[in-house]
């Protein structure tokens, strides 16, 4: 089970992140929050929702990578995180693909 290189690896599992990284992420999150509030009052028509979502996804990614240490975690943790996001996309995507396309085909009197 244990090889000579194993001991050297043990520093990787418990990564001490420099303080400035945390403060930089915090600052970025605050700036993005202010941005999303300001942009919400600008009329971008249909673009308002995608912009708000893009900012939220950026913020969430910063939290996951740095605050939740996923950037410094092992491959299995990364696979878990990606799987979580993937299944969320499947749930929302497939559900909405139903609801958003119901008007496309006219079925006059329902299924009979």
């Amino acid at each position: 089970m244990s090889e000579p290189t194993h001991h050297e690896k043990s520093h990787g599992s418990q990564h001490i992140v420099p303080l400035k990284v945390y403060f930089a992420v915090f600052a970025a999150l605050m700036v993005l929050t202010a941005t999303t509030v300001c942009v919400a009052y600008v009329n971008l028509d249909w673009l308002n929702l995608p912009v708000a979502l893009a900012i939220a996804i950026t913020k969430a990614t910063l939290v996951i990578l740095f605050f939740m240490h996923v950037k410094y975690s092992g491959h299995m943790v990364k696979v878990y995180v990606v799987a979580g996001v993937l299944f969320l996309i499947i749930m929302i995507g497939i559900t909405l693909s139903d609801y958003m396309t119901r008007g496309w085909i006219s079925v006059p009197r329902g299924w009979q």
Binding site: V17, V37, A60, V77, M91
Partner: protein
């Protein structure tokens, strides 16, 4: 180094017998916590899916109803929660570097910011009550979308309520962690409780990061 595992067991009190070393034990704990968080993602994901369906079905009602929410309070709460995430991340770092006083300090700071968030949330709920925006027989809205606006507030209270419940559970967790820290239960090598609770806390923060724009900010551009 062939008996590295045995040596590791002899020198690290926190190491359970079925793990090779602290490295593997930490990674296993992380995986377990992430597995729990995946179920949480799907749980909140269901609420977000329902929100998306009805926002698509009644965009006008969603726009009108969201105008009754207080953007200033929501934005302040977002800042407070991000601040609490920072102090939580610093608490985990303090635990890993063995700084006990700082660890306790940052845990208390996280607790305080969490309480501030819940306080502001309570004020918002109170305002909604005063303005008759609680779904039910007393709900007051005018116009053709009155019923659908009530539906928006059903989602508002279900989503923010579930989020607030997670915060309250987090408060209890923080109190336990503060007590354990004071009783010297943690070492730089062994503090999984702190690290895993940190993951939970950041997850709750992420939920709010999505709730804030979707509930408060949609439709602001067209008054």
């Amino acid at each position: 180094m062939a008996d590295h595992a045995a040596a590791a067991h002899a020198h690290t009190p926190g190491l359970r017998h079925h793990f090779v070393d602290m490295d593997q034990q930490r990674e296993s704990a992380r995986l377990g916590m992430w597995l729990f968080l995946l179920t949480e993602i799907m749980f909140f994901g269901g609420l977000f899916t329902g929100y998306a369906i009805y926002r698509f079905s009644y965009p006008e009602a969603w726009r009108l109803a969201s105008h009754h929410l207080d953007v200033a309070l929501g934005a302040i709460n977002t800042g407070v929660l991000i601040l609490s995430s920072l102090t939580m991340a610093l608490a985990v770092r303090s635990a890993a570097t063995g700084k006990k006083q700082l660890l306790i300090l940052f845990l208390i700071a996280t607790l305080v910011f969490g309480l501030v968030f819940l306080g502001i949330k309570a004020k918002e709920y109170h305002d909604k009550f005063e303005h008759h925006l609680i779904p039910g027989t007393t709900f007051e809205a005018e116009g053709p979308w009155a019923h659908q606006e009530m539906l928006f507030y059903c989602f508002y209270f279900a989503m923010t309520g579930m989020h607030a419940l997670h915060m309250i559970i987090g408060m209890v967790g923080l109190l336990i962690l503060i007590r354990m820290s004071m009783n010297n239960k943690f070492s730089p090598e062994y503090h999984p409780h702190i690290e895993l609770f940190g993951l939970y806390w950041h997850f709750v923060d992420i939920v709010w990061i999505f709730l804030f724009p979707l509930l408060y900010l949609i439709g602001r551009h067209a008054a």
